[in-house]
């Protein structure tokens, strides 16, 4: 069986589990929306300020809750389930890809809902918002890959819960920089191609790193 088919089977399993657990839809998304509400409550009705800081706050919330989404329990195939998948001959790269893609889909849903809240509360007035159709998925994919990679590295040394979130932050810097600057460029009416390119290249490099390290990290896990 090829990696693509294994990835599809495992992706379906992850999304079905998440649908039933509701970790993202019932916990992360509502709390993310509330987090966006806190800043206007603190700043008050200073509309120009909210317009200026809206995109930055949005991406900060995406990073913070992105860790929750990528480290969700339904993505944590460990112990006996991992043993089973290994004995069934599942390629570690397929497992990585499935977890990253499921995380990307969930993060994109998170971005869309929280993004709507951002528009309502902060009125960021973006020039050419159609570009968000490229920025949001690219950032979701990048953060999901980073989270999955960090989870694999942490699992390899047996400290997933504590180490994984610490690894996400530095690895996510180029993604957040690209996404935040591209959004800011839309607000100011400037070209965003350079930032979008940074985002896409970072995604590709991290995805390649995740696929290439999946097997040694899995074999190294205790």
């Amino acid at each position: 069986m090829n990696i693509r088919r294994q990835t599809a089977i495992l992706l379906r399993r992850e999304l079905r589990s998440e649908l039933r657990a509701g970790e993202v839809s019932l916990v992360a998304i509502p709390f993310g929306a509330i987090a966006m509400l806190l800043v206007p409550m603190a700043v008050g009705t200073d509309t120009p300020l909210l317009v200026r800081i809206g995109p930055g706050i949005f991406w900060s919330v995406v990073l913070l809750f992105g860790v929750v989404v990528t480290q969700r329990q339904t993505a944590d195939v460990g112990g006996p389930q991992l043993d089973l998948l290994r004995l069934l001959g599942v390629d570690p790269a397929a497992r990585f890809a499935a977890t990253a893609l499921a995380g990307a889909a969930l993060l994109l849903a998170f971005e869309l809902v929280v993004g709507l809240v951002t528009v309502v509360l902060y009125d960021p007035a973006l020039d050419d918002p159609i570009w968000l159709a490229a920025i949001l998925p690219a950032a979701a994919f990048g953060l999901a890959v980073v989270g999955t990679l960090a989870g694999n590295i942490a699992a390899g040394v047996g400290t997933r819960v504590t180490l994984a979130p610490l690894l996400v932050a530095p690895l996510a810097i180029p993604i957040l920089l690209g996404a935040a600057q591209a959004t800011e460029g839309l607000r100011l009416g400037e070209s965003i191609l350079a930032w979008l390119l940074l985002l896409v290249i970072t995604d590709l490099v991290l995805a390649a790193a995740g696929v290439l390290t999946a097997r040694p990290l899995e074999e190294a896990a205790p």
Binding site: R13, S17, P80, Q81, D83, L84, L87, L88, E219
Partner: protein
């Protein structure tokens, strides 16, 4: 089918940070043989089974399982021929019993009917739509036996497989071991139930402080 023993461990050791789990262990299991493994808690029985399941390489010594050298790339090719039931159920708790079986069938390229037939065969035909998280321990065990029926392993590794089973399910374990061994495979059965297992296997070994005395 490899020539020679299906499991061959020669002076194998497994070390973890701060602990020696297995040391200087020798074990040979031939085709058509069922071996019972006894030993006190913490003696290394589960580690031995996971080592034989090719889930990690030995720290010392050499081993071959189904003809593949432990720790070498070729070991992945034999993994699908190993059936392993450990302490904890290898089931996805948010999926139903049927979905768990279909996942395995999908990954092995088997038809969905095989998954349903296997669940039926272990007496879970009426509970296929129940989520694993809502199943009893006995039902989870049965589901794992259903998986073994479907995958038809050549090497069967059972770790305390009798725990939490009623008499009918106990018969399932015995039937599984007999079938695998009768088909020219082999079984390693870890248990505390000495009398029950002794009647099931061809010979027994005892793991003490990470090694097997008087092996193979």
């Amino acid at each position: 089918m490899p020539d020679g023993p299906l499991v061959e461990l020669e002076r194998v050791g497994v070390r973890r940070p701060g602990a020696v789990i297995l040391r200087d262990l020798r074990l040979t299991v031939s085709a058509g043989e069922a071996v019972g493994v006894f030993g006190a808690n913490g003696s290394g029985k589960t580690t031995l089974l996971r080592l034989v399941a090719t889930l990690f390489p030995p720290s010392d010594g050499v081993g071959r399982v189904l003809g593949a050298a432990l720790g070498e790339p070729g070991v992945e090719a034999v993994r699908r021929r190993i059936g392993f039931v450990g302490h904890q159920p290898a089931l996805f708790p948010l999926l139903t019993l049927e979905e768990n079986m279909l996942l395995v069938a999908d990954l092995l390229g088997k038809p969905p009917g095989d998954a349903r037939d296997a669940l039926e065969a272990v007496g879970l035909g009426g509970a296929v739509h129940r989520r694993v998280s809502a199943c009893s321990n006995g039902m989870k065990r049965r589901a794992e036996f259903a998986r073994l029926l479907m995958t038809r392993p050549q090497l069967l590794l059972l770790d305390e497989a009798h725990v939490g089973l009623d008499a009918a399910a106990g018969v399932l374990v015995e039937s599984l071991v007999s079938t695998v061994v009768g088909d020219g495979g082999a079984a390693l059965v870890v248990s505390h139930e000495t009398e029950r297992i002794t009647a099931l296997v061809d010979r027994t070994v005892r793991v003490e402080a990470g090694t097997i005395e008087g092996a193979p």
